[in-house]
C-alpha cells in the first residue's frame, strides 16, 4: 500500500471525499460534481474548447485577476484606515514602510487594470464569436452586469488612496452622476454621504469597494460560470467560419 492509498483509505479522507481516483469516467465525473467549487463547471468539455485560440482564455484571465485582487485587497485592508488624512498616510506607509507593501499595492493596481482590460476584450471575443446568441443571451446580460460591477469596483477603489488624483477623480465622477435628470443631486448626496467629497464619501466608497460590490460580483461570477455549463459550454469560433471565408 502506497502512502497515498493509505491516506485515501482513512475514514477522515473518506468522510470528505467519497469518490475514488479519476481512473474511470464515472470517478472523473464525480470529482467535478461532488465539489462545490468545481460543480459550476461542465463535467465534460470538448478538448478543442480548451485551446488558447478558442477563447483566448479572456474570461479565465478576468477571473484570475479577480482572485488576485481579492487576495491582495484583503491583505491591504490590514494596514488601511478609511479616514482623513490617515488613508493617505497608510497608502504611503504601505509603499515605503511595510514589507512587501509596495508589491501588494502594485499587484492590486495592475490586476485591477488587467481585469478591466480583459473583461472588455472578453466581451469583444464573445461578440465576434456570436456567443451572445441563444441559448446564451441571458449569460450575455449577466456579463454586462459583471462589466458594470467591475467598473464600479475600479472607480470606488480610485478614491481610497486619498491623493489629489483620487479626490479630483471622484469630484468629477460624482458631478457626472449629478447630471442625471431629476434624481442626479440625490444620487450624488447618497454616494458621497454629504455635499462635498469628504470623510463620509471615503468611508462609503470603502464599504462599497471592500464589501458590497465584491459580494455582488462573486455572486454574479458564480451564476455566469454556471450558466456557461447550462448553456452548453463555451462558444468559440463557428465551425463554418473557416470553410466559408
Amino acid at each position: 500500500m502506497t502512502a497515498s492509498e493509505w491516506v485515501r483509505s482513512t475514514s477522515l479522507y473518506r468522510s470528505v471525499i467519497r469518490h475514488g481516483v479519476g481512473e474511470t469516467n464515472r470517478n472523473r465525473s464525480l470529482i467535478i460534481f461532488e465539489n462545490l467549487f468545481l460543480h459550476v463547471h461542465p463535467v465534460k468539455v470538448r478538448e478543442k474548447t480548451l485551446r488558447f485560440t478558442h477563447t483566448f482564455w479572456l474570461g479565465g484571465i478576468t477571473m484570475a485577476s479577480m482572485i488576485v485582487l481579492i487576495a491582495t485587497g484583503i491583505l491591504l485592508m490590514f494596514y488601511y484606515h478609511p479616514s482623513v488624512p490617515q488613508a493617505y498616510r497608510d497608502m504611503k506607509e504601505l509603499q515605503y514602510v511595510v514589507d512587501n507593501g509596495i508589491f501588494l499595492r502594485n499587484l492590486h493596481r495592475w490586476a485591477a487594470h488587467l481585469m478591466v482590460i480583459s473583461a472588455g476584450l472578453h466581451m469583444l471575443r464573445v461578440f465576434y464569436h456570436r456567443a451572445y446568441r441563444p441559448p446564451r443571451q441571458f449569460n450575455w446580460v449577466i456579463g454586462v452586469l459583471l462589466l458594470i460591477f467591475t467598473l464600479l469596483l475600479s472607480y470606488t477603489g480610485y478614491l481610497l488612496p486619498w491623493d489629489q488624483l483620487a479626490f479630483w477623480g471622484v469630484s468629477v465622477g460624482t458631478n457626472m452622476a449629478r447630471q442625471a435628470p431629476l434624481v442626479g443631486d440625490t444620487i450624488r448626496f447618497f454616494l458621497l454621504g454629504g455635499n462635498i467629497v469628504s470623510e463620509n464619501a471615503l468611508l462609503r466608497f470603502y464599504v462599497l469597494h471592500c464589501v458590497m460590490l465584491p459580494v455582488v460580483l462573486i455572486l454574479l461570477v458564480s451564476v455566469h460560470i454556471w450558466r456557461v455549463r447550462k448553456d452548453g459550454g463555451v462558444q468559440g469560433p463557428l465551425e463554418s467560419d473557416g470553410a466559408s471565408s
Binding site: 469630484s171 468629477v172 448626496f189 447618497f190 454621504g193 454629504g194 455635499n195 463620509n200
Partner: protein, 161 residues
Amino acid sequence: MPDHEDVLETDEGVSRRDFFTQAGVGACAIAAAGSALVTLDFLKPKVLFEPPTSFIAGTPLDFADGVVRFNKEKKAYVIGTSNGVYALSAVCTHLGCIARYKSDERLIACPCHGSRFDLEGNVTHGPAPRPLPWLDVTEDATGNLVVDTGIVIPRGKVFKV
C-alpha cells in the same frame, strides 16, 4: 367523498387557505418595502460636519468698481461693480475644477478643459455647459458682506451697497 375544495371555498370564491397565503405574502411584501425605505433613510446622513458654506468677503468699501477677489477656501469670486457687489462660484460647471481669474484678460478660465467665462459668469468658450452660478450676498449686523456658496440666486441680482 366530499370535494375538498368545496368545503374550503367561501362565497367569494377565495378559499381560506388562499386568503391566508395572500395575507401572509402581502404582509411580507409590506414589511420588505418598509425595510427598504428605512434602510434608504438610514443611508441619508442627518447631521453633516461639513465646513460652513458662507464666508465674510469684506466690507462694501473693499469692492470698488472692477475689483475681483477670490476666496480660495470657499471657491468663490466676489466682484465689485459701479452699482454694487455680486459673487460667482469658481467651480467650473463642466466637471467641477476651480476656474481661475485672469486679471490681464478680465476673464475666468478653467485649467482642466479650457472653459472660459466672462466676469458675469457667462460661458464665452466651451466645454462648460452652463454659466457660473451667482451666489447669495448679504450684509451682516456689523456691515460686512457675507457670501453663501450654498445659495444660488438669479443671475444679474447685484447686491446694492
